[in-house]
């Protein structure tokens, strides 16, 4: 498609560091190509700011192809912006019109404190994973042959779909309760669906949920916002599976 140039107004959350109070600042940015990604537009803004000897906007990003999960941003009131099943780095400016005003804010959650501008600390997710998001198998090269345990294709596919989570935190950001259950549910599901993960399923779900609660995430009220905003389309089924796993685990 032919690309064109648009002029936009940006309202961006600026915050010097974790301790400072932040506020929304307004910027005008002209000649943005609609073929640019949202982050390329921010690059352009930063180039402009640097040329004006102003501090550029800090934002998280890395792979810019929608898989590392590092980019975030709450754009016009939605996690990863208006397009569906897309991370911010793959959101393109063709989703916006000439003259649009675009709000850009960081993820908001007690468990994801703002570090600077649009950057938040998502290490809570790492700690949940450390609490049980693994199979306790050491490296040896002497495990059984990969094909010794057949896994029904259906289960393997469901496990993969759950494992496709990129840990970006959009679920937490878009949930009105700041709940992390889609993230945790996906991880619990991936292992619960595979024979290799079943062995320690009980301990895993109990530990991961305990850690999740300790981190200060809110509670799921099944609004379904997470599933809609998840750039990888992780299904609510995974939360249900976690609920089930946890229920069985806690009465065991």
């Amino acid at each position: 498609m032919a690309s064109k140039s648009i002029n936009i107004n940006l309202k961006i959350w600026r915050q010097k560091d974790a301790k400072s109070k932040g506020q929304i600042e307004t910027y005008k940015l002209d000649n943005v190509s609609t073929a640019s990604s949202f982050l390329e537009m921010l690059d352009q803004l930063n180039e402009q700011l640097i040329n004006e000897r102003k501090e550029p906007v800090a934002f998280d990003h890395d792979c810019r192809e929608g898989i590392c999960g590092m980019c975030s941003l709450y754009i016009n009131g939605r996690a990863h912006g208006p397009a569906s099943k897309v991370t911010t780095c793959q959101l393109h400016m063709r989703s916006f019109k000439d003259g649009d005003t675009i709000y850009v804010e960081p993820w908001r959650s007690k468990a994801f404190p703002v570090v600077k501008d649009l950057i938040v600390d998502r290490s809570a997710f790492d700690r949940i994973q450390q609490a049980g998001g693994f199979v306790s198998v050491n490296t040896s090269g002497r495990t059984i042959d990969a094909n010794a345990t057949p896994v029904p294709k259906h289960d393997a596919d469901r496990a993969f779909e759950a494992a496709a989570c990129i840990g970006c935190g959009a679920c937490v950001a878009s949930c009105k309760n700041g709940s992390a259950m889609l993230f945790v549910g996906a991880k619990v599901s991936q292992y619960a669906l595979l024979p290799q993960g079943k062995v320690e399923a009980t301990e895993r779900v109990l530990n991961m949920v305990r850690q999740m609660d300790d981190e200060g995430f809110g509670n799921c009220t099944n609004t379904g916002a997470c599933e809609v905003e998840c750039p990888k389309g992780i299904s609510l089924e995974n939360i249900a599976r976690m609920n089930r796993e946890y229920l069985f685990a806690s009465v065991k």
């Binding site: 309202k11 959350w13 929304i24 709450y74 016009n76 009131g77 939605r78 208006p82 709000y103 804010e105 908001r108 959650s109 007690k110 468990a111 703002v114 878009s174 009105k176 309760n177 700041g178 709940s179 259950m181 109990l206 949920v209 305990r210 999740m212 609660d213 200060g216 995430f217 809110g218 509670n219 799921c220 009220t221 099944n222 609004t223 379904g224 916002a225 809609v228 905003e229 609510l236 089924e237 939360i239 249900a240 599976r241 976690m242 609920n243 089930r244 796993e245 946890y246 229920l247 685990a249 806690s250 009465v251 065991k252």
Partner: protein, 285 residues
């Protein structure tokens, strides 16, 4: 570990919300079936309704269920408040611009408000009917007017009679005449030997009809009742399916069924509840 998991964890709160919520849905069905008798127009409509009311207040099994219901309502409400407070804390700084309607339905975001309104309704509703039924000393009793031919050819005489639980009739006039007395609201005693001879029905039917037909407040009561049922409908619209999800009962095979059943339930049950006062206020002669 496992024990505290079932009481204190975030997921446990979901389970309890779901279980109490689903139980209250069952209660709604039971309550509705009883109430629907108010639509009956037969000669014995009032009597049948009051018989049912008596059964509901005295049967031990029903009693047990009712205590469970009170508990569920309280637990559902308290748990809901705790959850809401916790969830508010999980996002101390909100968004300047938030477009929640693009990813959620309105009801799902407003369960706490809807629930609070329902709680207010329940308290009012119980004050109006349940408390009267249980504690009001002036609670009217079920009577029937019986026509009897005293003598052939003479115009028939009408007489107000109490209907007893035991199946007999006692003239209302007998109280005034001092032959019998009514003690403990429904017990009939012979005055001469102070023997309990029968039990009477409280006339809940009358209370209800008068409540909604009241010249001054009847219309307002009807409107508020209908509004409350609308609130309930929204609450159920999200709540019913949500409970299944919370309990982990999510299976692609049945999801659509649960979802559609939940939606139907959320519309039909409150609608039928709402029909009753509307009927009483506008159509009941």
């Amino acid at each position: 570990m496992a024990k505290s998991a079932l009481l204190k964890s975030s997921l446990a709160k979901k389970y309890w919300m779901a279980l109490t919520g689903l139980f209250l849905c069952l209660f709604l069905i039971g309550h509705l079936l009883g109430n629907l008798q108010l639509l009956s127009t037969g000669k014995d409509a009032a009597l049948n309704f009051n018989k049912y009311a008596l059964f509901m207040t005295t049967n031990p099994a029903v009693k047990l269920l009712s205590y469970l219901t009170y508990f569920s309502i309280l637990f559902h409400a308290v748990d809901g408040i705790v959850l809401t407070v916790q969830n508010k804390k999980a996002r101390p700084v909100g968004y300047v611009k938030n477009s929640a309607s693009s990813n959620t339905i309105w009801a799902s975001r407003n369960m706490a408000v809807l629930g609070t309104l329902i709680l207010v309704f329940i308290v009012t509703h119980m004050t109006n009917f349940w408390a009267v039924m249980h504690f009001d000393k002036k609670m009217p009793l079920q009577t029937v007017t019986i026509e009897s031919e005293v003598m052939p050819g003479m115009p028939p005489q009408t007489q107000e009679m109490y209907v007893t639980v035991e199946g007999s009739y006692i003239p209302v006039a007998a109280v005034e005449q001092g032959m019998i007395s009514i003690q403990n609201r429904t017990e009939v005693y012979r005055t001469d030997n102070n023997l309990k001879i029968a039990h009477l029905y409280k006339d809940l039917y009358k209370i209800t009809v008068e409540f909604f037909k009241d010249a001054k407040w009847g219309l307002i009561a009807t409107i508020l009742y209908v509004f409350s049922m609308l609130v309930l409908a929204f609450h159920l619209y999200h709540g019913f399916g949500s409970a299944f999800q919370s309990l982990g009962l999510n299976n692609p095979k049945y999801n659509l069924l649960i979802k559609n059943f939940g939606k139907a339930f959320a519309i039909i049950v409150p609608l039928l509840f709402a029909v009753i006062p509307v009927y009483i206020h506008f159509f009941l002669k």
